[in-house]
Symmetry: D2
Subunit: 126 residues, 4 copies
């Protein structure tokens, strides 16, 4: 599933960096259109990166013939960032039969900027 | 504050629809780049719309000389949508001295697609 | 399911007040042991009331032969309360096939004290 | 602050196990009144343990003359437990000037049962 294309992720300019065994990383080179009105990276950029990275981590761990879909995610914005390069990294903490739980960190050059936890439903491919 | 420009919101193609007295609406005409890999609107599009609409609702209710910033938001994705026109509407439920709490609904032609609650910090303009 | 006994809820002194069609209310007469160290109602009392009320609302709306279980809940504490009588009221906002989403309000004599959103899994009775 | 008494925590039978430098643990010997209707530990017991442990972790890291109060907490219930001995452990992930962010794990004999993230407001003692 590491070759799945997300049009919105591409539109945003983010890219999958690593993928496998319940873990994933997505990276973003920050551009002016990623900012909000006072020059920090927009919260929506951060939530998009984190949700999608959590999706990759969850998807990396399931059987053939299944897919995952976000049920819920909570993002805590820990400090504003105006960094140039962001990396989101996600890890499956516990996988059940119908849902999987993932934690996601967002770092700006090694500094923790945001933290998220999400639940992803495990669904049969339709 | 209804004339504040969010580069990322514009990049995404969303627009402020209404604003005032602790409430706000943001609308989006869905385009192909808003979708994920199986044709539904990407979760990041939804979280961006909801967070930003919550920001507008929070910002619409504070005094001159202050601004707001998202501390945390949880988004519950209630069903996937492949709709053409989405509206996020937010309402301040309780405003304190240093934080304000907002609920946000996302509808696809009157059908509830996602629900979020967020806390926004109230900060002096720097 | 309105006759189901929750030992911990009884231990705490709370009681089901209304139940049916995706809605429920639970009430609590506040006693000294419900407080934290500076005299406000303990957050755990509030989270217990809200989670259980959400459970009742979810359970009131499902078919015979099924039960519900909390997957996740987020509680926003909007202001501390030292009130004598609390009522939690919950409402199903959207029910799917495998999960149901509920919003829960906690009031102290008509004043909103806390707000929660929760996801409950719908499971076959074992 | 490790000698602060929480009447509700005592009423529940839980006890502080370790405390200091942004970390804390609370333990509980499970009794029949901690259960819900089908014999698992009640979600409210779990949320109370986790919130209070997060409070201790946050409180352990602040200056004299200040206190902390929960703004919000999200609990993900990862699997039901009917264990006899539960330990909640919390850690401050990032402390700002006005809020501190904490992650909390709940284990039943080394197995992860629930995961929470919470924001605690840092307030001057009144």
């Amino acid at each position: 599933m590491n070759d799945i294309k997300f049009p919105f992720l591409e539109h945003m300019g983010a890219a999958l960096k690593s993928f496998g065994k319940g873990e994933a990383e997505v990276e973003l080179n920050v551009r002016p259109y990623h900012l909000q009105h006072v020059g920090y990276v927009h919260g929506g950029v951060i939530s998009t990166l984190m949700d999608n990275t959590g999706w990759y981590a969850a998807a990396s761990n399931i059987e053939e013939g299944y897919t995952v879909m976000t049920l819920e995610i909570k993002i805590n914005y820990l400090k504003p960032t105006s960094g140039k390069y962001l990396v989101a990294s996600a890890k499956v903490k516990r996988q059940g039969n119908t849902t999987t739980f993932v934690t996601i960190e967002l770092e700006d050059e090694g500094s923790l900027v945001a933290y998220a936890t999400g639940t992803y439903a495990i669904l049969k491919d339709s």
